[in-house]
């Protein structure tokens, strides 16, 4: 803003200067005509101008600041006014007859001069060329400009201060809603309120709504961490108690060994489940969308290595840009666990597709295999932590239970059914299409 004011001052000053110089030029032109009106051409070609006939009294007063000169074309001075006694006049260029030239002369004292080239025809018909110069000392114009400049700067400064005060007041008033939100956020930090509840302007309503969503999500996450820690601590107490009992029953070594093994397995399951559960983001408000195909391809590539002996054929029928409203890490867990499960149980084929009967408000993904499948009556139990369909193959129950919890956290569903095409198990996950709802 300071630059704008400076530029404005400069422009105004320049404008005034030009206007003042223009006015001076016109005044000097009038003076030239007045001078010529009292001039007389003598028969010898000289010009006679009598001081007593001059219209401008300043020309008759020495040191008045207004001067007049007449030169021949060759530059020889043939007359000067009484005010110009002792002064020289330099002719700047060679004007043409009828031409005026307005210049600032640097002679001492500095002055503005208007030089006018005239041709005067005598009675005999002979033409005589003269250059008439009227000059005024620059100090008069400079004084004018200085006065203007001071007045201009003074009033611009007053205006700038006034403008700044108004601007400051407007900004303070305009940012008041943001300050309100800031104060409310501070109150949330202090625990005085739970959510942003103020009546904010319509422009900030969306921001307040999204901030509340973020606060909700982080609070839910924190709650889940706390609950997971508490769950973990409580769940481990029982196996620890059993292990202590084994230590104290020192003579029953064989049964102790089996008990210790069981309790170690149990503690491991608890730790693994709670770890995966705590790490899950789950909340779809801030999860964003993930394009699923690259993730599925990476997981399949990894599983092809791990299950290399089985020579599993993966059929991946997913459009390139198909996405789901899910955190990337959570999707890795969902897809990784389901595909790992399918690899463990399948004979040789696994198919990943988008099911036809998916509700239009949802994004769905199905993973099916040609394994033995799971009896429908066991499905509910399978999704509960720690229950395994077949004790011969490790890690069946934990993985599906984690997937179930993750999908539920996102407001979606995990359904298991028999695969009509491959004859084994088919798992379908459905997650709402729109994130942030």
């Amino acid at each position: 803003m300071a630059i704008a004011f400076a530029v404005m001052a400069l422009v105004l000053e320049q404008g005034f200067r030009k206007s003042a110089e223009q006015a001076l030029q016109e005044r000097l032109q009038v003076q030239i005509y007045a001078l010529l009106s009292v001039a007389e051409l003598l028969p010898n070609g000289r010009l006679k101008i009598s001081d007593e006939f001059l219209h401008e009294p300043r020309l008759a007063t020495p040191g008045s600041g207004l001067y007049a000169f007449v030169h021949k074309k060759n530059g020889v001075m043939i007359w000067r006014s009484a005010s110009a006694l002792g002064l020289k006049n330099s002719l700047n260029t060679d004007p043409k007859p009828g031409e005026s030239l307005f210049v600032r002369q640097l002679d001492e004292p500095s002055r503005f001069a208007l030089q006018y080239d005239i041709i005067w025809e005598g009675d005999s018909g002979k033409e005589y060329e003269f250059i008439v110069t009227i000059a005024e000392e620059a100090r008069f114009l400079d004084q004018q400009i200085e006065t203007f400049r001071q007045t201009l700067y003074y009033w611009l400064l007053i205006f700038a201060v006034f403008f700044l005060i108004i601007l400051f007041a407007v900004i303070r008033w305009g940012l008041r809603p943001l300050r309100e939100i800031g104060n409310d956020l501070h109150a949330i930090e202090q625990g005085e309120i739970e959510f942003l509840k103020g009546s904010y302007s319509s422009e900030l309503q969306l921001l307040a709504h999204n901030l509340n969503g973020l606060i909700n999500s982080e609070r839910a996450h924190l709650t889940r961490y706390r609950n997971t820690l508490a769950d973990l601590a409580h769940s481990l107490k029982t196996p620890l108690a059993i292990l202590r009992g084994c230590l104290e029953a020192g003579d029953k070594i064989v049964s102790s060994r089996e008990t210790i093994q069981n309790q170690v397995d149990r503690m491991n399951d608890i730790v693994e489940y709670q770890l995966q559960s705590a790490a899950a983001k789950g909340q779809k408000q801030i999860s964003g969308r993930i394009v699923v195909l690259p993730v599925l391809e990476k997981i399949i590539h990894s599983l092809e290595k791990v299950y290399g002996n089985k020579n599993i054929r993966f059929e991946l029928v997913i459009p390139e840009h198909f996405s789901m409203c899910c955190d990337e890490g959570d999707f890795y867990e969902i897809a990784g666990n389901l595909l790992d499960n399918a690899c463990k149980w399948c004979k040789s084929k696994i198919k990943i597709t988008i099911p036809n009967n998916c509700h239009y408000n949802y994004s769905c993904l199905s993973i099916e295999d040609d394994g033995p499948g799971i009896a429908l009556e066991n499905l509910d139990n399978i999704l509960k932590r720690g229950v395994r369909a077949d004790q011969n193959i490790d890690g069946h129950g934990i993985g599906l239970a984690v997937v179930n919890e993750l999908v539920n956290l996102m407001g979606g569903t995990l359904k298991g059914e028999k695969s009509q095409e491959l004859g084994g198990m088919k798992w379908v996950i459905s997650i709402e299409q729109r994130c942030g709802e």
Binding site: A279, I299, H301, S302, K305, V306, E333, G336
Partner: protein
Amino acid sequence: MRILVVEDEQVLCQQIQDFFTQKGFAVDVAHNGTDGLHIGNEYPLDIAVIDIGLPDFSGVELIKQLRQKNKAFPILILTARTRWQDKVEGLDAGADDYLVKPFYFEELLARVNALIRRSVGNAHPVLTCKNIELNSVSQEVFVDKQKLELTAFEYKVLEYLMFHQGEVISKATLTEHIYNEDYDRDSNVLEVFIGRLRKKLDPEGKTDPIETLRGRGYRIGE
């Protein structure tokens, strides 16, 4: 078979080392990535078991560096991280399998054996050559369906030759794969093992299962 175990937790490393030694492996150990990289580059290994959380640089980085040096032996990663993104990262880096801690040692052995078999093109745990049958899981050897008793080193020699049927295996290579780095080797002992094996596999001298190629090495099969 020669196995490298890279694990910074000393107690667990000792347990794994003892376990595999008991199972007939020649075991080299390292407790950090730098040592693991050195052993992996310098010695001919059949498999490596690498922990992800190493003190100097991660197990994933170690795997990448081994693969960049064209070390093709199979690698199984041990990890406490159960997140799928971490597992995929390790397998993408060049590992062939993973095992999450805590694990059963028998499961570790089964996966290691499966990876070794896969690396030599044998999916099945039972290897056969003429009238000899070797079960790499149970470590039993049968000749004409009769079980044969072999010492640990005799079994190691036979197992290595059976895994590389038809290939000429030099004495040096055989020595590298049945002894670990620290073992005090005597090259004549290998000839004694081969001699004893021949007698046990073919007491009547009819089939001559192990062929000696003078100046080159030994071969079984073909």
